[in-house]
């Protein structure tokens, strides 16, 4: 069976939530892994998001 090709782009994946009440922070540790790690995180984030939305579409997902 031919798999449907993913369209569109994951623009960014922001990991974690900001624990600070005065400004917004970003996890810079990812920079240690360079572009490959950031791309991997982006790929995994996009895959997970697509999986969740597909489950929701077919009625198996969590309710809102």
């Amino acid at each position: 069976m031919k798999r449907e090709r993913s369209k569109g782009r994951v623009l960014a994946v922001k990991l974690g939530s900001n624990p600070n009440s005065s400004s917004l922070g970003v996890d810079v540790t990812l920079l240690l892994g360079g572009g490959a790690l950031v791309s991997l995180v982006s790929l995994l984030g996009g895959t997970l998001a697509r999986w969740v939305l597909r489950r929701k579409k077919t009625g198996n997902g969590q309710s809102d």
């Binding site: 993913s6 369209k7 569109g8 782009r9 994951v10 623009l11 960014a12 994946v13 922001k14 990991l15 974690g16 939530s17 900001n18 624990p19 600070n20 009440s21 005065s22 400004s23 917004l24 922070g25 970003v26 996890d27 810079v28 540790t29 990812l30 920079l31 240690l32 360079g34 572009g35 950031v38 791309s39 995180v41 982006s42 984030g45 996009g46 997970l48 998001a49 969740v52 939305l53 929701k56 997902g61 969590q62 809102d64």
Partner: protein, 384 residues
Amino acid sequence: MGSLIEVQPVPGSGGIVRPEPFGGTIAFRKPEMLVLVDHEWLGSLRRDAKPDPAAPFEAHLTLSNRCDMGCRGCYIDSGLEREELDVETWERIIEKLAALGVYHLALGGGELLSWDVLISLAHKARELGMTPNLSTSGRNLTPAVAKRLSVFERIHVSLDGVGAAYAGVRGHDGFVSGLMSLKVLKAYHRRVGVNCVVARSNADDLEPLFRLLHDLGVRDLELLRFKPAGRGAAVFDRMDLTPRQAAGVVPRVLELCRRFRLRVRMDCSFTPHVCASGFSPKLLFKMGLAGCVGGSWLVSVDPQGRLGGCSFDTASSSLSWEDLGNSGGFRHYLDWTENAPEPCASCRWLQVCRGGCHVVARHVTGSFHAPDPGCPIVQRGSGG
């Protein structure tokens, strides 16, 4: 056992995709992340495009400015006699933020605030589908209170260095008290970390803090740039990083991350410093790095109910919390990059950095629209 993946509801939107000007956002609690996608990615799930930010990802509520610690750089100019909103109004604000679809709520403020109030507001946020986080000096924290803080997703204790380094930033010796609070919280809470303000006096002395956190088993550290807000404005010229420190802070932090295996976040005002370290704009954007996102990804409400693009900009704001959802008041933030002056206009990081911290720029140059004078690229006098 809870599920491994948990999608965060979007209050008020009726769905798990929040429409954005660029496409949409899908938020997860487990693993904790926001996935930003374009319109094409959403495909049939695409809803009406929003010309302006739909809602902030995050709101900061400074609940109180009553405090007796007297920190020299306090950005809300805390003291003993201060006015603040009542609890019922804060509840209405939280309801309004939830209706807008805000994901994360960071609570903080004066350290004489009642823990009961904090906890009840955090429960309110949870009930409405938002994730509450807390930053605190940990003052007056007891084990009994610490046990009740499980409603917060993350709790960070302010610790601006080890020993004298703390006093160098804060102007008083609160290190031992902060350390004790950190240990108490660590005993009862899984996601405990530290916030550290990086100033001229401690920027060259961060290693002891990394070492301490590593030894304590605390894995999360957030580094914040010293801001010229509140009492910080009066001392900014001697607390701001030197050009040498500004140019070296990110490589130094990454080296310490590697050595001590901490997960480190740097706040939005450090974006120029991250950009100046040479990472590609595409890479930085992909990991969600953004300079000033005041009024778009972030809003703040201060103890008097003033609404600002960020916590450091509420004092100059003419907006009230009742203006929440009206992005027109933040046009000067949103349009900054379109009207960027040199060297920002020709800088290849402009769309990521967005001119750095406009609060710093306004304080130093008198203009909100000037480039951040603390940016190493601006200090070199050329575009990136």
